[in-house]
Symmetry: C2
Subunit: 278 residues, 2 copies
């Protein structure tokens, strides 16, 4: 089996590193791997599958002869480099939100709408973290009972703010335990032993940008343009793994036992509960 010529743009960030870890774990077939980052990180050495790779500065020419580009950078950087990669016939899988709501770009979660990749014209977007973990369980429930409305409260880990967010939780926690003053940097308010119901900026309609992503992206991925969605996004002092409480309203009756049965066989889902434990 021949492998792919693959590039990771943003290879040294929190998401890029995680992508490399997953590619390695899944033994994704790679013939040639290119690690791209901004000039500051060029020259760094990264280990992948036991081999050393030197991080290169991303330039338009970097994407020559690359079949697949994974993009793990912010919107501005994606908007700058993604067209360059596409121009050079690379398929871009973009983790930023730059292209998500573009009607020509499929927004795909493999467990939910894999067939949507078929209409791609060079770019495939993947959704916001909170949306991804919501649509995976919602899909099998929708297929059976028809979703009318979802109400979501999130409990989002600091990892969503990258390596710096994780560091800030540790630093602030130590400072508070030592009775010292803290001064917020990555997050707008204290995050240690605290909650921040304010992820990303507020839009004119009173929802945050993060909350509106849940509305717009869920509708696109599930193919339900009229789905009613109300979401409250809250940052919590947890390192990794976002959590969500989702209340749904369906067309057809959906008893808890049926929901449990549907979820137990759905892809990407593991039911974890232990009601007996006190």
């Amino acid at each position: 089996m021949r492998g792919f010529r693959l590039a990771v743009l943003g290879a040294t960030g929190a998401v890029g590193s995680e992508m490399l870890k997953v590619l390695e774990e899944r033994r994704f077939p790679i013939d040639k791997l290119k690690l791209l980052a901004d000039p500051n990180d060029a020259g760094k050495v990264v280990l992948y599958s036991g081999e050393q790779y030197i991080v290169e500065e991303a330039r338009p020419e970097s994407f020559e002869n690359v079949q697949i580009t994974l993009v793990a950078v912010n919107n501005d950087v994606s908007l700058h480099f993604t067209p360059e990669a596409v121009k050079r016939n690379s398929v871009v899988i973009d983790n930023s939100s730059a292209y998500r709501m573009n009607p020509k770009v499929p927004l795909v979660v493999p467990e939910v709408n894999p067939d949507d990749v078929r209409y791609h014209k060079g770019i495939i977007a993947n959704p916001n973290c909170s949306t991804t973990i919501a649509v995976v369980p919602l899909k099998p429930l929708h297929d059976y009972a028809g979703l009318k409305r979802i109400v979501v409260s999130t409990y989002q880990a600091v990892s969503g703010a990258g390596v710096a967010g994780i560091g800030e939780l540790t630093d602030q926690t130590k400072q508070i335990l030592d009775g010292k003053q803290i001064s917020p940097g990555v997050f707008p308010y204290q995050i240690a032993f605290n909650l921040i119901p304010h992820v990303d900026y507020f839009k004119d309609n009173g929802y945050t940008h993060e909350e509106m992503k849940m509305l717009n992206e869920s509708r696109k991925i599930l193919g339900l343009p009229n789905l009613m969605v109300s979401c409250t996004c809250v940052r919590v002092p947890v390192y990794r793994s976002h959590s969500e409480a989702i209340t749904i309203e369906t067309e057809k009756e959906l008893p808890p036992e049926k929901a449990r049965e549907l979820l137990s066989t759905a892809p990407g889902i593991k039911i974890v509960d232990n009601p007996a434990k006190l």
Copy 2:
């Protein structure tokens, strides 16, 4: 102005201490103060308004000649002593859940249904912490627009589990920062840097006891026996102050500006938001 002869049962616990602090802050008129606790704490000295009080062991006779008894103990202890206090003509304000759903006992939040105290026969119950903070803002919104349904997700601090819960959060946090093993005691799972969607035990219907309190107590306090309530209760690694995300459905249209206006003049509410801060 003459004061009352008042007793606090459970005066040395987390809630009892807080009650004393509030009585002192509000300069509640007291002629004679009795601090009652279990035999282990009898003899302890507590400072109130600059005076020393010696904690007494609670006995049935303790309530002789006491006009008001504040009860801050668990259900079993309340069920044991509350009737003894009532028998001796003391009015009992009970913070436990022992009498809350008794139809002869008013369940009162002063900002919401103060007039319900009128039907008391010696016992006035106050609700669960999560319910209290929900009904205070819900009341003015209901009066204007008519509540049909509420969906609540809680973010409950460890203080809800008393002094021991607060200590466990500190201890586990230090252990994790030091790379040590933790062993849960007060909470069924790790609480430091973690969430526990499991407050109190699970009932046969799949909701926890804590979640059902929100349903039953909200209906009773708001006088809405058919109000639809769905609640997910989650313990979060925060020391004090519970938080809740509440999504409501109303009979009449209720634009956000109107809700803000109603809440800004309602008793016990301070609107805190700063959407401009990033």
